[in-house]
Point group: C2
Chain length 443, copies 2
């Protein structure tokens, strides 16, 4: 097995989060056959193989030292949009925003929307089990992947599952691949469920909040009123300032930050009732105006990246039970003070998914703060990662969570699955589950 | 390890589908500790252990010859209804209809509704990955299980997952348990997602159809109009007759059968446009009247059971892509004629999930017909089971499907997972994946 005829490259790369990649070789795949060849090549030579979609992992999932980097960005075809069976079949390299544009033309959408839609690949979103801005109503990618094709570690290409919402023929291997972070197989195709665009008028409420407790109070109020929003996003005052500074957003810099809550018209009164008492100022938007607000929120991470001015910053991704939001938001403020570092918070607050961003170069105290935030989530019955995954960044805290909340046997079962799918340790080795089970500290 | 102090029984049982169970011993568990004791007891003595919820499996999932039958029906507590974090925590023996009554009192529901809700246990629905009448909009149990507690084959009790909609800390073992049919662990607790009851007015349209092509045409028409119904159910004329005969339903015995389609008010016109041209008669209902129709549909299997007059009948559970419905419905009619047996069809037709019921005692030709129906589904890119699972009934056809559609490696990976979780083959052995991989023919 050699790589003749395949497009290869020898150079270093850096991903969106600033992780350095030093592959032995970058190989571009244009078909599943190419993937099979590269996997077999890597396996014969026992070289770690790391799949790359668009490089937007925030946890170093594609980090690589002496690996073969398998670049799937040129496998970017939308193979089928089925408007009767309501699925789309795609190659992994398709850009997620582009996919949704195509779907919208036919009256459909694929709801989960990592704020990086305009950058990320569908394949990355699938294997990372990405979530994002509409998960509060529609769930994360976990709930939208029907079936996949993967190349296994021995070079066998297989299909897992069927493009059907109901299929009970065998154990659910599809959901093992969702969130496998390239460690169990290389994704070459996915069938994703699609659904009609909402028929009802959706209204976006932008609420500039009085104080730091307001955001959590609003979300609890909405839960009690049984409001099911399309999305409910939060940015604190530091994030607003970064948006104003770097993207000329022109948003009011209210002390308590800003909430963006979109709901169908018949739930609007309930939202306003809850929001009004907690806000300094309210704006309501629909149509294009609402889309502008949504895309501003989507660019918050870009604004923070600009704010970091080239320095790497640590993006947290913890989840706390919604009922624990008031306590969690308070504790984050306390930690910011205790460590004396800025930690602007972006949040999919409606589902308790918080992204405090530690705005310092990685060092001992940043790592300590990072772990303290994660530990808080675990102690509250939450999770150290809602959607970014584990990669190398969250190995220790994932280990802590699983040991504390699930038990050591569970970690060893996960490792058993890795060994079952990849006995020789070829696929993205030494990270995620494998690393967490080995208890090695990675940076 | 002994069973002192546990409630035990020595007798035979029959499940809802008529499978005979001849356990060495029936043990009633009242707590997770009891389950741990029984699993350890079985393991020490190498006796197969079969968990029992309410005995409503249709595939012989709890069949047992010389097993220890672990009866979980007395673990029937609703442990927590959390109306802020939107989950319910239950023991496996809770009746599903009872659970939904409790939830409704607080303004919530757990949408997936196997037509056997009034009989089945939540635990059974989870480990079978049950679907039912609202899956067309809300999906099956797969989409509603957040986390579980299970007792593993070595007697270790663990939690898998977290009661959070977003959690990416590790491989998804929760979805391995959903649909594991008691072969990977014994479920002792589940956290299930709940959602607010619909706010909008829902209207049920009952359409008595002109001819046998009408049902499929209506569903295709609804798909093209991008209508997303609450449910869309079908019963053919033989099912109507059984309902009239045994439950005095008083339904019109229209040649093309009857559709029950429920939609939010703003989609009603689209439904009527599609339905009218295909129907002899239309009835519209809401509120209590609609509930009566829904519960009539839920009792269709009971009516067929009465029709069978004590004889066992074969309940199919195939899925075809919605786009293949016209062809599938036609082929079912042809097979009925070819074999000269009655095969009344109940269907969650909106998601292509068909239940032709072969109304003869099991014999060679019934088995042949059963397999022909399943094969048709596989050839159409469908599945041999949408929601009933595999048990012993569908071992051969599941094997065919996986070999044909997924590949032999996939079957061996599934078997690898069984061995990983249950190396000594204690948990519900010799069925489902294990049997399909071994290619033994079970009856």
């Amino acid at each position: 097995m050699d790589l003749e005829g395949l497009e290869v490259e020898e150079r270093e790369r850096e991903d969106f989060a600033g992780y350095k990649l030093r592959p032995t070789l970058i190989v571009y795949a244009r078909s599943e056959e190419d993937v099979v060849r590269v996997v077999k090549y890597a396996r014969e030579r026992r070289i770690p193989l790391v799949p790359w979609g668009a490089g937007t992992s925030l946890t170093g999932a594609t980090s690589c030292e002496g690996c073969i980097l398998l670049d799937l960005s040129k496998m970017d075809k939308i193979l089928e949009i089925n408007d009767v069976d309501w699925y789309v079949r795609v190659q992994p390299g398709v850009n997620l925003a582009r996919l949704n544009e195509e779907l919208e033309r036919k009256g459909f959408f694929l709801p989960p929307d990592p704020a990086s839609s305009f950058l990320c690949s569908v394949g990355g979103a699938v294997v990372e089990g990405s979530g994002g801005m509409r998960a509060v109503k529609y769930g994360s990618f976990k709930e939208w992947v029907l079936a996949v094709r993967v190349v296994l570690a021995d070079g066998t290409a297989v299909k897992l599952g069927e493009p059907l919402r109901k299929n009970r023929a065998g154990y659910d291997l599809v959901h093992l691949m969702v969130g496998s972070e390239g460690t169990l197989g290389v994704l070459t195709e996915a069938w994703l469920r699609i659904t009609p665009l909402p028929r009802k008028k959706v209204i976006t409420v932008m609420a500039f909040l009085r104080d730091s407790e307001a955001a959590a109070n609003v979300i609890l109020g909405l839960r009690k009123a049984r409001v099911l929003p399309e999305f409910s996003e939060y940015m604190d005052v530091d994030v607003i300032k970064a948006l104003n500074r770097h993207l000329s957003a022109g948003l009011k810099e209210s002390e308590g930050g800003v909430l963006l809550i979109a709901v169908e018209e018949d739930q609007l009164d309930d939202v306003l009732n809850v929001v009004k008492v907690n806000s300094q100022e309210l704006v309501m938007a629909e149509g294009e105006e609402a889309e502008k607000l949504y895309s501003l929120r989507a660019q918050a991470a870009i604004a923070l990246k600009a704010e970091a001015a080239g320095a790497k910053f640590l993006a947290e991704d913890v989840v706390v039970p919604v009922s624990k939001l008031p306590e969690a938001m308070m504790k984050l403020k306390q930690m910011e003070t205790k460590y004396g570092v800025r930690m602007p918070v972006i949040a999919h607050i409606g589902d308790g998914n918080l992204h405090p961003n530690i705005m310092v170069r990685e060092d001992a105290s940043a790592t300590q703060l990072f772990e303290e935030v994660a530990r808080m989530a675990v102690e509250m019955g939450g999770s150290v990662t809602g959607e970014h995954g584990v990669g190398v960044q969250k190995v220790n805290v994932m280990r802590e969570q699983v040991l504390r909340s699930n038990g050591e046997r569970v970690l060893s079962l996960m490792l058993g699955i890795k060994r079952l799918f990849d006995p020789e340790g070829i696929l993205n080795p030494g990270k995620y589950v494998e690393a967490a089970a080995a208890s090695r500290r990675l940076t």
